[in-house]
Structures are given as structure tokens and as C-alpha cells.
């Protein structure tokens, strides 16, 4: 099978189609008994003798009356008049999509204002996170701020301290770029062992959007910032938490750091920092300061609360690493994933996301036997620097237990580590920056479980 020529999706005919009906029965009967060698023989025999096509089609059987009632009896929407334009001034998803919600992980936090909601990665396509499903992390509650009253200030090691209105920021030359944002604590609960059931809770502090804004360097140059001696930049939020973080100067001078107002074609959502948010590509979400009110240029780092008490990584010897910023290469299979049920044996499209804070994704490999053997997945376009990349791989499930993993490599050559490798260096108490390979166990009953393997 040449992967390139195969369209993904359920309609793809599986190789079982080349087996006879009797052969299929035998294969599954023997397969259930665990005789994999028998399966290989059966396939070989089938390949030798040209077979009559035979659809598995268990999910879509032909009813005894000779046709599907959903085809034979025309529905109301085919025989009536539909709704008019602008019934919803701002359209909503289908009512059948109501299961897609960002959700809290029970017991994780005591208040909702200093908390997290996780994006439903298990049900998303492509690389863009719908803005309403973007994960949330608030430190002291969120606000819907009047943009006409919001101000942005630059001070510190600059020729002149400056203030800007949002109108003025939006007048400047803008860029639009796709980037992922991942909380440094994403996958934190699984550092030691399995703690949560689904990819929403293991990896859901992850989203990707097209952001529109002004490169911060443009604004710093406007204020005459001392880029030689001003090695560190403080970003500060305008909300109650007044979130502060030290921002790496090298990402600012490279033009990557943006003062953004746009997200996926509209303004930022209030939960994501409306009307101004700092975009720091490749760096953990806490640096993407929301409700951004101030940038200060200085010559020393700031040791703000969220880089001196939290977002510090405890190492085995008892030291904490401070100013850990980069989200290293990581990937996860989103289907099949924990808490899902596969409907039947047969063809599936294994699909997932890969990303790296150091650039583009170069390749992704997928294993269905717990990391013993691997196959290279297809990377779907676009493959962008410091953005999510979607990967897909054809898979025929034989109904037997399978452990699915993905392993990404970024353009620097860095390969996503196993849990054993990561814990070997960082121990199990780090909380932050867990980029280990994720395992999902597909059980014989079709249920998929979050597991870690030896």
C-alpha cells in the first residue's frame, strides 16, 4: 500500500476486502484466540487467490426491508423549507456538537478564578482551535475589558516612556501568524503515573490560533529601547493578577514576539486577553500575558511570582530550574485516545497533533504495539514553525489489544523522549514541561485507556 495514494477517512476499503467471506470468519475466530501467525497465513492465502469483494460493513448493515430507512424515507429537511439568513447574527455550532466543551478537571483547583479549563482535543480537526474552545488559564478571573479604555505602556531602558491606545496599536503594520500555545503544566498530572482518563485532561492545555498583531520590536524601536544593555523584558497584565513574566530578548529581536489583538480572524476572546495579549511563540502559555498593559525593558530578570514560586521545575537533587520557557518537541494521538470507544474492527485513521517550541515538526512516527515497531505518519499541511502540525496514519485494527504511541522530531533534530528517558533526567516531581511519549491502550472491547508502559 502506498500511503500517499490513500485518502483518509472511514470509506477507505480495508485489505480485508481481498479476503473471502469464509476467510474473514476464520481470521477473526483465530485472531480472537491470539493466533497472529494464523492471520498472516490467511492474508497470504487471500492475496494469492483473487478474492471476491466483501465489505465488512458491520457499522452500516443493510436492513431486511432492502434499504436504509434514512435513504428510503426522505426526511423533513429534504421535503420542507429551511431557516432564513441571519437567524443567528453570530453563528453557533450544530446542536449535535454540544459535547465539545472546554472542561475543568475535577479536584484540580479549589476556585474557578485561579484555574484551568481544557480544550477537547479528542474531537478537533486540523490545527486551528475554535476560539470558543481555546483552553483557559486564569490566575485571578477573566474580564471583558472596554478596548477604548485600555492603554499599553512601554518604560524602563528606553529613550522615552510611551503610551498607546488600542486604536494606535491597530494602526501599525500588522502580521498574522499561526502559533500553538501550551501551558507549561500541560500533562503535569501524568508526570508520576496515570491520573486522568482522556486527552482533553492529559494534553488539553494546548491550542493553536492565527494571531494578528504588531511585532513587539516595532514598538520597542519606536520608544528607542536600549536593545544592547536591556537584556530582559518584563510583560505585565492589566487585570487583578497583573501577571508578570520575564520575556526572552532573543525572541523579541527576532521579530517573533507580537502584541496581538486578533485571533482566528476576529478580536481575541475575553478569556484569551481581549483586547491585547503578548504572543511569545514556542514559550509556555504563562508568558503570553493577557490584558497586556505594560512592557518594561531592564538589564536583569525579574523573578516574578510565576517564575519564582510557580512555573519552576523541581529536579531530583532538590534544586528548581528557573526561567524554563521553551516547550520542547511533543506529540499526542487524539484518536484513538483515552475514553473513546472504537466501533468495530477494521480501518481507522490514527490522527494526532505534533508541535515544538523550537521550530517546525520534521517527522512523526506512530507505533501500535507500545513502541516496539513504528511507522512514519503523514504530516498534513500546513507545517509551520511553532504551530500545531496534524499527522495521520492508516491503521487496520484486528480487534486485539494495541498500544498506540506517537513520537515527534523537530527541525533541530530533537526527538520526543520516552517517560523513562525524561524521568531519568528530571525525576517525577517536576510538574512542568512533560513532553513524554503518550500511550493509549486499545482494549479488545474497543475502549481506549490512558496507560504508561514499561
Amino acid at each position: 500500500m502506498k500511503e500517499d495514494n490513500i485518502n483518509s477517512g472511514r470509506v477507505q476499503k480495508a485489505p480485508e476486502n481481498f479476503l473471502t467471506q469464509g476467510g474473514i470468519k476464520e481470521v477473526f475466530a483465530e485472531g480472537k484466540k491470539g493466533r497472529r501467525d494464523f492471520i498472516r497465513h490467511a492474508f497470504a492465502a487471500a492475496a494469492a487467490g483473487a478474492a471476491a469483494p466483501m465489505a465488512m460493513a458491520q457499522g452500516n448493515p443493510v436492513p431486511t426491508e432492502g434499504g436504509d430507512p434514512h435513504i428510503l424515507n426522505l426526511p423533513e429537511h429534504a421535503t420542507g423549507l429551511g431557516q432564513g439568513v441571519a437567524v443567528e447574527g453570530y453563528g453557533k455550532p450544530s446542536k449535535y456538537e454540544a459535547n465539545l466543551q472546554r472542561r475543568q478537571s475535577p479536584g484540580l483547583t479549589q476556585t474557578t478564578q485561579a484555574s484551568v479549563s481544557f480544550a477537547p482535543l479528542q474531537s478537533l480537526f486540523g490545527i486551528v482551535t475554535p476560539s470558543g474552545l481555546h483552553f483557559e488559564r486564569h490566575h485571578q478571573g477573566w474580564w471583558d475589558i472596554d478596548p477604548s479604555k485600555h492603554r499599553f505602556m512601554i518604560n524602563g531602558m528606553v529613550q522615552k516612556n510611551m503610551v498607546f491606545t488600542v486604536d494606535e496599536i491597530m494602526r501599525l503594520p500588522s502580521v498574522s501568524r499561526f502559533h500553538f500555545i501550551e501551558c507549561g503544566a500541560n500533562t503535569a498530572v501524568d508526570w508520576g503515573n496515570v491520573a486522568v482518563p482522556t486527552v482533553q485532561y492529559t494534553h488539553g492545555m494546548l491550542s493553536c490560533s492565527e494571531f494578528t498583531g504588531v511585532p513587539l520590536i516595532t514598538l520597542l524601536e519606536l520608544a528607542g529601547a536600549d536593545l544592547k544593555n536591556g537584556k530582559f523584558v518584563l510583560a505585565e497584565g492589566g487585570d487583578g493578577s497583573a501577571m508578570t513574566r520575564t520575556i526572552p530578548m532573543s525572541l523579541i529581536t527576532s521579530g517573533e514576539v507580537l502584541v496581538a489583538y486578533g485571533q482566528n480572524g476576529e478580536m481575541l476572546r475575553p478569556e484569551n486577553g481581549y483586547p491585547l495579549r503578548l504572543i511569545v511563540p514556542g514559550v509556555q502559555g504563562v508568558s503570553w500575558v493577557k490584558y497586556l498593559r505594560r512592557i518594561e525593558v531592564g538589564d536583569k530578570p525579574y523573578a516574578a511570582k510565576d517564575e519564582a514560586v510557580h512555573y519552576i521545575d523541581l529536579q531530583p537533587g532538590g534544586l528548581h530550574r528557573q526561567y524554563t520557557n521553551i516547550q520542547e518537541v511533543k506529540s499526542v494521538v487524539t484518536t484513538p485516545s483515552g475514553g473513546q470507544v472504537l466501533l468495530d474492527k477494521g480501518f481507522y485513521n490514527i490522527t494526532g497533533l505534533a508541535w515544538s517550541g523550537k521550530g517546525k515538526i520534521k517527522r512523526v512516527d506512530v507505533s501500535t504495539d507500545g513502541g516496539r515497531n513504528w511507522r512514519q505518519a503523514r504530516l498534513e499541511t500546513p507545517v509551520l514553525s511553532k504551530a500545531l502540525t496534524r499527522f495521520n496514519l492508516n491503521w487496520i485494527w484486528d480487534g486485539k489489544p494495541a498500544i498506540i504511541q506517537s513520537r515527534a522530531q523537530d527541525e533541530t533534530g530533537h526527538v520526543q523522549p520516552t517517560y523513562q528517558q525524561l524521568r531519568g533526567v528530571r525525576g517525577t516531581r517536576s510538574i512542568y514541561h512533560n513532553n513524554a511519549i503518550q500511550s493509549w491502550l486499545v482494549q479488545e472491547n474497543g475502549e481506549v485507556k490512558n496507560v504508561q508502559v514499561s
Binding site: 477537547p120 491520573a195 486522568v196 505594560r294 475514553g339
Partner: protein, 359 residues
């Protein structure tokens, strides 16, 4: 003709010159100078070298007064509570103050990590209390109150004595007694740029292997059966169409070979009736920050609304009065302060609680 052209040119040059003098910028008309008053109001950060620290002082005793009035209901009287936030104080020793390394951080069996165990810089405490505390009224403490609260916390951790007064003059000496002052390292590959001179190579070096890479994998960690439904029914957290469904975790796991019942989408959608009254109530609870202290179905600082609903079913007026007046002693030692919200809103919230407080 040429005279006319010269005139136009001169005018254009003059216009450019005047613009340039007003705004020596590539983007004329965008941005203006910040006034010293504006910068002073917003530039509140305090660095580890104490740049930005305003003059002032506060004693342990004065800090205790502020603490008990504005901080203890979330953090506990001794900064030890973990009911709302992680504990602030505990886990450090006199020896740690000498060495600047908190010994408990290297123990894998030590149950928690308090703020004082982790924080290396006293400036961080001052800066954060000043910018973000108290929880529901950030930036309302005076500098002297911030000095006092910081001194009180440091005294709880035995970093400063009971009769100590912390000030901008002696805070650098206090820095030299911080229990974890030597507990940070910045030499790693996770900061982009050379500012910290960290490592260039990442921690791990996995190789791409494609075949027979390891012995057969064994499951080493998984969720126990009793946690099956701990995150709610996963069937309701997956799309109703596609190559998968969510597992119905309200029921025990099916045996292998049992066909999965793919619930028709319409049935699943119809089953979810809207609770509009609950939604409206939740909006009010969020608007008036009630949820900072009360969960709908769990205790936070105060009782869960479901507990209140059980105790005071049908008592709308009593509940509306209590919301406005506050109270103490009914649900525990922490008092509920009187709330300033419109009576109509209090009435709506009280009605919702009295009917059972359902989301």
C-alpha cells in the same frame, strides 16, 4: 513653471521637517510620551535587587492585623491552609536558613511544597502581595501594609523574629536568610538566548528506531476502575459522529465482543434539557464573585450552594437577607462578609438556592 515646482517642493520639505520635529518616528501620530505620573502608577514591579521597591516599613504585629482581616480566610491563620490555595508556610527549618537550601525539597516522600520552601527571592513575595493581593481586591494594600504582611509571613517561617520591622533599609539582609535562596538554577536549555549562559543541548536524546526497538511493552500504570467516572461521563465528552464514540463511564466496562451502542445523535441531544434558570444564577454568582468562596456542589471557603439549599429549602427571604448581611458561626469559623450587590440580584440568587441550587 520651474518656480511653481520649486514652491511645491519647498512646501513639501517644510511639511516633512515639521512632522519630523514633532515626532521623530517612522510611524508619526502613533503613541505619545507617558507622563511621570502615569509611569509611577503602573510601574510597580520590584526586582530581586530591589529596584522598584518603595520606601516604607511594617512590623510583624501590624502585618498580623492585616493578615487576620484580609488574608486568613483563604490562607489560614498561620498561612498553612490548603483549602483555597496551596499552603504558604511550613516545611523549612533553621538549618535551611543557614544553608539557603530547603532540605525537604530533595525528599521524594515529603508531601507538599509550600511557597516559603520554593521562593528564593524575598522581592517576589513583596511584589506579588503588592500587585495581586488580597484575592478579591488586588492593589488595595498600602506599601506599609505590604511590608507588614511580608514580615508576618517571614516570622511564621522563623526567618525574622516576632519583634521585627521589615523595611526597604533591611530587606537585603532578610534576603540573606531566605531558606531556599540558593535553590534555583538557570543553567538549562529551556531559555531561548544566551542571557543565562545555559546549556545548548536538550536533556534527552531519544533516537529514531523503527523496528524491534524494545521488548514487548507492558502496561505499568493505568487508572483504577473506581476512577472510571471521576471525570464525568466520557460518552458526553466525545463527538456523536465519527470513527469513535465516548465510553459510557456511568456503566461498568463492557466485555470484549459486546457491540458498542452508537446512541443516535438526536436522542443524546434531546436528553440534555437546558437549565436556563441555573445558567442565569451562575452568571450572577460569577458576576458578584460569590464563586470565589462557594462552589455549587462543593465547599470552598464557605459551604457549597447545594449544602445551603438543603438546609434552607424554600426560605427565599432568609437567604436573600443573609447574602446582604453576611454571617458567621453557621458553617464554620470563617465569617462571610456583608455583600454589596443589588437586592434584585440577591433575590434571584436566593430563589435559585431555595429551589435546590441546580446548575
Amino acid at each position: 513653471m520651474s518656480r511653481f515646482r520649486n514652491a511645491v517642493l519647498t512646501a513639501a520639505l517644510l511639511a516633512v521637517a515639521s512632522l519630523a520635529s514633532a515626532q521623530a518616528s517612522k510611524y508619526p501620530g502613533v503613541g505619545r510620551d507617558a507622563t511621570p505620573k502615569e509611569v509611577a502608577k503602573w510601574d510597580i514591579d520590584v526586582r530581586p535587587d530591589f529596584k522598584g521597591l518603595p520606601a516604607g516599613s511594617g512590623s510583624v504585629a501590624s502585618g498580623q492585623d492585616v493578615w487576620e482581616a484580609k488574608c486568613a480566610h483563604c490562607h489560614g491563620v498561620f498561612g498553612e491552609s490548603n483549602e483555597v490555595f496551596s499552603p504558604l508556610i511550613g516545611g523549612t527549618s533553621a538549618e535551611d536558613i543557614k544553608t539557603g537550601r530547603v532540605a525537604n525539597l530533595s525528599r521524594t516522600d515529603y508531601p507538599g511544597r509550600t511557597t516559603i520552601m520554593k521562593v528564593a527571592t524575598v522581592s517576589t513575595l513583596w511584589d506579588y502581595i503588592n500587585r495581586a493581593m488580597p484575592w478579591t481586591n488586588p492593589k488595595t494594600l498600602t506599601p506599609d501594609e505590604v511590608y507588614g504582611v511580608t514580615a508576618f509571613l517571614l516570622n511564621l517561617a522563623n526567618v525574622v523574629p516576632e519583634n521585627f520591622t521589615l523595611s526597604d533599609k533591611n530587606i537585603a539582609e532578610v534576603q540573606n536568610r531566605m531558606p531556599n535562596r540558593n535553590g534555583m538554577q538557570t543553567q538549562h536549555a529551556m531559555w531561548p538566548g544566551n542571557e543565562f549562559g545555559g546549556a545548548k543541548k536538550p536533556d534527552t536524546d531519544n533516537k529514531i528506531c523503527m523496528n524491534d526497538c524494545k521488548p514487548e511493552a507492558k502496561v505499568a500504570s493505568f487508572l483504577p476502575d473506581f476512577a472510571r467516572n471521576a471525570h464525568g461521563n466520557l460518552a458526553e465528552q466525545n463527538r456523536l459522529v465519527g470513527q469513535q464514540r465516548g465510553a459510557d463511564t456511568t456503566k461498568p466496562e463492557p466485555k470484549a465482543g459486546t457491540p458498542v451502542s452508537a446512541v443516535p445523535a438526536a436522542t443524546a441531544v434531546a436528553a440534555k434539557a437546558e437549565n436556563s434558570e441555573g445558567k442565569a444564577a451562575m452568571a450572577l454568582l460569577n458576576k458578584h464573585s460569590c464563586t470565589a468562596c462557594h462552589g455549587v456542589d462543593k465547599k470552598i471557603v464557605g459551604p457549597g450552594f447545594n449544602e445551603v439549599a438543603k438546609k434552607y429549602a424554600g426560605k427565599v427571604d432568609y437567604l436573600a437577607g443573609k447574602i446582604k448581611a453576611g454571617g458567621s458561626g453557621v458553617w464554620g469559623p470563617i465569617p462571610m462578609p456583608p455583600q454589596t450587590l443589588p437586592s434584585a440580584d440577591a433575590q434571584k440568587i436566593a430563589e435559585w438556592i431555595s429551589k435546590g441550587a441546580s446548575k
